[in-house]
C-alpha cells in the first residue's frame, strides 16, 4: 500500500505541487496587473511550437519541445505587441487574435503530420500526463533516502523543482520593485525603476513556469494555478505578503487534494477507474476560489 503510494502517487503529487507553486507565485502579480489571461494565451500559443519542434527533432524529448514552446511564446508576444502598437487594437482583442490563430495553426500541422500517431496530441498538451509520471524503482520509504533510487525519479520532478526555485528567487530578489510597480507604476518610474523591463521579466518568468509545466501537468493546471490560488488569496487578505503565502498554501492543497481525489477516491467508492488528475486539481482550486468569494474577509470591492 505504502509502496504503491510512493511509486505511483508521490511523484505526480510532488510534480503537480511544484508546478502549481511555480505558476501561482507570478500569478499573484499578474492578477493585480490585469494580465491574468497571459497564462491562457501562453497555453494556446505553445502548441505550434511544440509540434514544429517535434517535426524538426523527430523525438518527443523534453529539450526541443521546451525550446519550441519558448520560441512560440516569444513569437506570440511580439505579434501581440505589433498588433497592439501598429494596429491600435486593445490588448485583449489582440491577444485573442494571436492565440486562437496560433492554436489553429498548431492543430493543423499536428493533423497533417504523422505526429498524430505518437502520444503527442492536443489532449496531451491540454491535460498533461500526470498519471504516467511514476517511480517504478521505488521500494518503500527506504528509497526516499537512497541516492541511486532518487536519481531514477521522473526527470520532470527535478525540472519542476528547478523552475520553482528560479521563479521563487526572481520574486524574492526583485520583490520591492515588483510590488512598487504593481501598485503604482508611475511612482515606481519616478524612482527610476525600469518598469517595462520588470514587466517583461515577469512575463518571461511566467512563461518559463508555464512552458515547463505543460509537458508534465498540461495547460489546464497552468491556467488554473496562475489564477485561482492568487485570486482566492486576494479575497482573504489585504497584505501582498500574506496573499502570496496563502496562494502558495492553496496551490499546494489543491494539488495534493486534487490528485488524491482523482487517483484514489474513485477506487475507495468502488469504481474501477480513476479520473483526470489535472482536471481535478483545477476543479479543487476552483472550489477554494468559490469559498473565498463567498466568505473571504476582503472579498468585496471597496468603493
Amino acid at each position: 500500500m505504502i509502496n504503491d503510494f510512493i511509486a505511483f502517487s508521490l511523484p505526480p503529487i510532488l510534480i503537480a505541487s511544484f508546478a502549481a507553486l511555480a505558476c501561482a507565485l507570478p500569478g499573484n502579480f499578474l492578477i493585480l496587473r490585469k494580465q491574468a489571461l497571459i497564462g491562457d494565451a501562453i497555453s494556446h500559443v505553445v502548441l505550434p511550437g511544440i509540434v514544429l519542434a517535434f517535426l524538426v527533432s523527430g523525438s518527443i524529448s523534453t529539450v526541443p519541445m521546451l525550446l519550441g514552446a519558448a520560441a512560440a511564446s516569444l513569437v506570440a508576444v511580439v505579434l501581440i505587441e505589433v498588433i497592439k502598437y501598429f494596429g491600435r487594437i486593445e490588448a485583449g482583442a489582440a491577444m485573442g487574435v494571436v492565440f486562437t490563430s496560433m492554436f489553429a495553426l498548431g492543430v493543423l500541422i499536428l493533423e497533417q503530420s504523422e505526429t498524430r500517431n505518437v502520444h503527442l496530441d492536443v489532449e496531451h498538451v491540454l491535460f498533461g500526463n500526470l498519471e504516467s509520471l511514476i517511480w517504478l524503482e521505488a521500494d518503500g520509504w527506504a528509497s526516499l533516502f537512497t541516492v541511486s533510487d532518487l536519481a531514477l525519479l521522473p526527470p520532470e520532478l527535478f525540472r519542476m523543482i528547478g523552475v520553482f526555485l528560479v521563479v521563487a528567487l526572481f520574486i524574492l530578489a526583485f520583490w520591492r520593485p515588483l510590488v512598487l510597480m504593481t501598485f503604482d507604476e508611475y511612482y515606481a518610474r519616478t524612482l527610476g525603476i525600469p518598469t517595462f523591463l520588470y514587466g517583461l521579466a515577469l512575463v518571461v518568468v511566467t512563461a518559463l513556469a508555464a512552458v515547463s509545466a505543460f509537458d508534465a501537468v498540461g495547460s489546464i493546471i497552468v491556467i488554473a494555478m496562475i489564477l485561482c490560488p492568487p485570486a482566492a488569496a486576494r479575497l482573504m487578505t489585504n497584505s501582498l505578503v500574506a496573499q502570496v503565502w496563502i496562494s502558495m498554501g492553496i496551490a499546494l492543497a489543491s494539488s495534493v487534494i486534487g490528485y488524491i481525489a482523482a487517483g484514489h477516491m474513485p477506487l475507495w467508492i468502488g469504481l474501477s477507474y480513476t479520473v483526470s488528475a489535472a482536471g481535478m486539481i483545477a476543479t479543487i482550486s476552483g472550489i477554494f476560489l468559490g469559498f473565498a468569494a463567498l466568505f473571504g474577509q476582503h472579498r468585496s470591492r471597496v468603493t
Binding site: L37, G96, T100, Q112, G279, A282
Partner: protein, 404 residues
Amino acid sequence: MLRDALVLSLGYNATLVTLGAAILGCSAGIAGSFLYLRKNALISDAISHATLPGLGLAFMLASSLGFDGRSLIVLLVGAGFSAALGLMAVSWLTHMTRLEKDAAIGAVLSVFFGFGVVVLTIVQNNPSGSQAGLEGFLLGSTAGMLLNESFLILLTSLVAFALLVIFYRPITLVSFDEGYARSIGISVRLVDYLILAVALVVTVIGMKIVGLILIVALLIIPSVSARFWSDKAHRIVILSGIFGALSGYVGSAVSAVSLGLPTGPIIVLCSTAVFVVSFLFAPRRGILSSMIKSLRFEQTLHLAQGLLAIAQEQPIYEAKTLRILKRKGYLRRDSVPTQLGYARAQKTLLNERRWAYWINHHNGTQGPHTHQISTLIDIEQKLTPDQISLIDQGLANAQEGRLA
C-alpha cells in the same frame, strides 16, 4: 473539386455544412463585433471552455435515463446550460468580489474546463460512453455528420442571426453610445444579456463544426479585422459579419474537398488570412497606409524645415533635407538655392510668421492643435482673407515698431 464545393454542388450534406458554417460565421462575426465594441471580447473564451462539463453531464444524464446520449440536441442543450452557468460565475465574481474581469474569466474557464475533463474521463471509462465521441467537440468534426445534425446547426445559426437582425437597433445603440441608449429608455443590462445569449448560442453550435477551443476565434478575429476598415461602428458590425461568413464558407468548402484538412482550424486560419490582409492593406488604418503616411509626413517636415533655413539664410547640414530639397528643385546640385527655392522659402517663412502672430495675438480656435505643426498648415487655407490682412497689418506694425 474546390469549385464544386464553393458553388455548393458537392452533395446535400456537404452543402448544408458549408451553408451552416457560413451562417454560423456571419452570426459569430456580428455577435463578436458587439462584444468587441463593448470591450468584452475575451468573455467568449470563458463561454466556450465552460461548455465542456455540460457536454459530459448531458451525455451521462441522457444515457442513464435511457435516451441516446449522443444526440446532438441533448449535448448542445447541456453545453448551453453549463456555459450559462460559467457566464453567471464570471458575472458573480466581477460584481460581487473585487477581482478584475480578466481574472474572473481566466479562473472560470480553467476551472470549468478542468471539471469538464474530469467528467470526460468518467464518460470514457463507462462502457456506454466509450464511443460517445465527445472529444470531437474539442476541435470540431464535420466528417460523418448526420443529416439532421446539419439541419439543426443550420436552423440554430439562422435563429442566432435572426435575433441579431431583430434587435439590431437597440444593440447597436447600446454598443455605440451607452449613455444615449439609457436616456431613451433602453435597458443596457438586458441588451448586454442578449449579446451574451447570442454569443452563447453561436458558441454552442459552433462547437460541432469548429470545436470549442477554436470557436473563440470566430467571435474575435472578424471584428478586429473589420476595425481596420472603418471607424464607423455600423460598418464594423456589417463587415465583421461578412468576414465571418466568408471564413466559414471558404474554410468548410476547402476542408470538404481535401479530406485530411480539419474543418475548424481551416476556418480559423481563413479568418486569420482576412485579418492579415486587413492589418497590412486596409486604407488609412492598415500598416502599409500608416507607413506611407508617416513617410510622407517626414518628407513634408524636412521640406518645411529646409525652406525655413533657406529663408533665414541658415546652413543646412541634414543630408536627408538636402536630398529632398534638391529633388524638388529648390536647391541646385551644389546646394545653392534656386529662384523657385527662394520663392517657396519666403512663402513658408511668411506662413510661419503669420501663424506665430495669430496664435500670440488672437488665440484663435482655428489655429493648429497642439499636436500639429503650424509650418505644415497653409494659413491661407484655414483663415479668411480678412483675418489674413489683419495679421499682415499687425506684422507690419510690429516691424515698424522694431525699426523705430
